[in-house]
Amino acid sequence: MSRTTLMAELETRRAQARAGGGARRVDAQHAKGKLTARERIDLLLDEGSFEEFDMFVAHRATDFGMAADRPPGDGVVTGWGTVNGRLVYVFSQDFTVFGGSLSETHAKKICKIQDMALQNGAPVIGLNDSGGARIQEGVASLAGYAEVFQRNVDASGVIPQISVIMGPCAGGAVYSPAMTDFIIMVRGSSYMFVTGPDVVRTVTNEIVTAEELGGAATHTKRSGVADLAFDNDVEALAETRRLVDLLPLSNRTPPPVRPFFDSPDRVEPSLDTLIPANANAPYDMTELILKLADEGDFYAIQPDFAKNILTGFIRIEGRTVGVVANQPMVLAGCLDIDSARKGAKFVRFCDAFGIPLLTLVDVPGFLPGTAQEYGGVIKHGAKLLFAYGEATVPKVTVITRKAYGGAYDVMASKHLRADFNYAWPTAEIAVMGARGAVEILYRSELDDPKKIAARTRDYEDRFANPFVAAEKGFIDEVIQPATTRRRIARAFASLRTKRQDRPWRKHDTIPL
């Protein structure tokens, strides 16, 4: 063939691959408000940065007449590119080709970029939109899933893995996202479940829609499986870019630094009045986070799940910091099963990737009740304790108000080797609230409200302050709230060279 013919052949083949499942299926995808696999990549990556692998890969199945239909690419677009100039690997399932179903070769394409990403130390971002296993291929498809799973496990804690669920994700397919670091869903067009509504109805007689069973609302508010949900593909992918900007490329590289337009010395006088005069009045911890962050920018993780704890990323002096904060607006900021799981997951991610941790504490204790005990709050609460205890990244803690009981220990206390433990003058570090303590200590005087009131006052005077803890060195310094940004900025600056080793082990046995 002549050179021109060869070039033409290449262009024809490329055009064929880029056409995916054809105009009709692309239109159907658009009609659902969903973009195609390639359109999504356009939005995820820097313009013109995408380099594709395996565009011409086709499946090798022959059963059920499959040999006659071998579209190039086999239902997934894979490759690499950049997000704001930084390397990432991406796979994007193409619902217009065999419903995005996973075949042996489809899986191989994903595995190839997973291997590349792990080797080169760059994140993997999966854009999931797949009907599930390619049933025609049988066990070969299942094997494909498992190959992907194994690579998810191998990459865990080495490179960030992000899953964006942009269509169906059911059955075995859910376990790959489940093992990645972040799951982002699209409202109205994505769902995840192990067994679908039909099976649920047959087996349990429960009647439930796909949306109720595994939609974005279910997983961001109820199950906590997903971290974030956005209104459409465009927004989800733009926000995924924002997330990538906050993360290191791998555990071998430090978290990214970005030019910033906010003074580390910024004083916020309004923080001096953040804590209400009434100790039982709530306040919004988000305000503190926003006022500490560079440019008031907070990227919340799991904002709609276990809202009694806040987790997410901010930047201090342009450097990523993970924030964990009790939220007094919800359940008084207490710890419970869900908030402990949410916090622990986040702390472990940050520690794995060298992201310093800022902990803001206003915690009255653990949520009491049978639901919590039967649900195993002992083990779940221990996850957060364990996560803080094993984290060797820089840890800075600020107690704004309550730090009661075991929850005080859990929330990155000095005893869990936090590096800086600051307290505001409004801090109360005690075994429990004054009234509760007095009711135990002076049980015999309970009939005499006057005596009890006096005892309560005494207890408050003695313990409802940060100074008892400060005298023992559990608090490094009591700081003025208005200066908190400067204090934590300096603290993190001093910890940039922190190195802390832990004894060798194969891996720990975190309570699961």
């Binding site: 356009d42 950049t82 100039g85 409202r187 593909d233 465009v234 970005r258 006088p269 309004s270």
Partner: protein
Amino acid sequence: MFDKILIANRGEIACRIIRTARRMGIATVAVHSDADQGALHVAMADEAVHIGPSPAAQSYIVIDRIMAAIRQTGAQAVHPGYGFLSENAAFADAVAAEGVAFIGPPADAIRAMGDKITSKTIAADAGVSTVPGHMGIVADADEALRIAGGIGYPVMLKASAGGGGKGMRIAWTEADVREGFEASRNEARASFGDDRMFIEKFVTQPRHIEIQLLCDAHGNGVYLGERECSIQRRNQKVIEEAPSPFLDEATRRAMGEQSLMLARAVGYASAGTVEFIVDQARNFYFLEMNTRLQVEHPVTELITGVDIVEEMIRVANGEPLRLAQDDVRLTGWAVESRVYAEDPYREFLPSIGRLTRYRPPAEVATDSLAVRNDTGVFEGGEISMFYDPMIAKLCTWAPDRAGAIAAMRDALGAFEIEGIGHNLPFLAAVMDHPTFTGGTMTTAFIAEEFPDGFRGVDLPEADLHRIAAAAAAMYRVAEIRRTRLSGRMDNHERKVGTDWVVTIGAMRAEVRLAADRRGTDVTIGGTVLRVESDWTPGDTLATLVVDGQRMVLKVGKITHGFRIRVRGADLTVHVRTPRQAELAALMKVHEAADTSKLLLCPMPGLVVRIDVAPGDAVQEGQALAVVEAMKMENILRAERKGRVASVKAAAGDSLAVDDVILEFE
């Protein structure tokens, strides 16, 4: 001169009085309720005395409490501010009996002007123009009909003790009088415990114009020009200015001189204000006299250079006035905007809570421009439910009216308030309204121009293009910063493009950016707009020059763009690459989820109280119930307007998550 004065008030006016006292070398005493423990006036004063619980009825208007504070601190004079005890003759008497100076008029003058019928009689006798009407109490509907026929329709039926629009009705026909008289009288009895009624001519298309007086105890008096206060919402002044764009010199002099005649008739000494309504033929009629410092006094201060509070203090000290009428010069133009904690998008519902951000525009005082902001709050402070929802009085001054209004536009644009609802967009909308800028407003302005409430301003396309150009230039700056992240592949960096698509609501514009060191040339809609700004990412306020015109934007981040507040409009501005825009156009618009008609308990907790009953109409944002969880009281609010159908829980109930508290219709 006094060594120490007590200010029997709170909020901005207490702060404003303290400022003048301090300049005069006088020590100040603040009083405060529980809720005002940490208030600005308490922090500013040299001394502070706690005078009781938060409700004003148990603190700021309890004469004994104030008298105790005076005795305790040895204050030699008391300034009552406005509202509270400022027009309470008994208080003035009590202060005098204590041998302490009252920084206000004699008690008799307060008494004489305090009753609408008495004051009108005195005014008429003093030769002040009054609204044609019946001077006496009207016995019944028949008498009312007879009098109305004599005056000529339309007429106003008014409760003698009235205020705030209660017990007040306009009658255009005999039938209206017959119906309205009893209704108004019942209302008056219920509201004020006083059912005396009178009738007067109803002036159509009236303007509210008032004269500021300053009188001493030696028989001297001057008028400091007028203030136009026609921009009112339900009889609440919103925007005032001085002078009035409507008065001529002859009318001004006639109003001023008649006001002084009234002052002399009641032996007035101190600052006072005579309010008039003025019809379209510049006939003016006495409305009432306010025997105190007015909220809107700063606009008069700005055009006369007189510190009215200082003069009040000097008069109370027995000094003669330091200026004669010939010394009074009205220079330039001043406008005041009252910034209220009221959400204009929610039918001006008062909004309370924490001011998470409060950044007023910078105060300026030059020969060509003045910006003055009288306030009693601070960032991190609380707007409580107990008092007036006023946050600040923002005033601007310039040599002419257009300049003062332009300065107000800028000042409103640069005002940042977050954490609570506020009326800044509404104030900005008025500043751009042709009826206001043309100076032809009447007291019906707001009711006529915003009959369905305020929904934000629709800006013309030219303005939207300028905003789009500004947003594109800013977005480019933010995007370039994003490419400066560490860890990028050398030599393969992202290049931020020059072509963008900006959408603002239905407006879509393709723009091309050419940036140089000092600014950006933005090609939009076939023209080139030059954008210059020192905005950097994270700034919540952007000051730009777009095509030679200054522009101030309040900016918030959203995905692919900004949320921008500008000149009474709240805009969602998307800035996207052509490819992003093309794909965004394929997205479905999500319809707002059908939120159920139930108020569910958001957390396990104990019901402290239910604030509504079946049949109650509730506004969006209104408190419905309080649930205590983990010893925290959480206020549950209505997410939208509605009517309560049934209440399913009661105080003391223990609820689980998603238990029904009440149902809406």
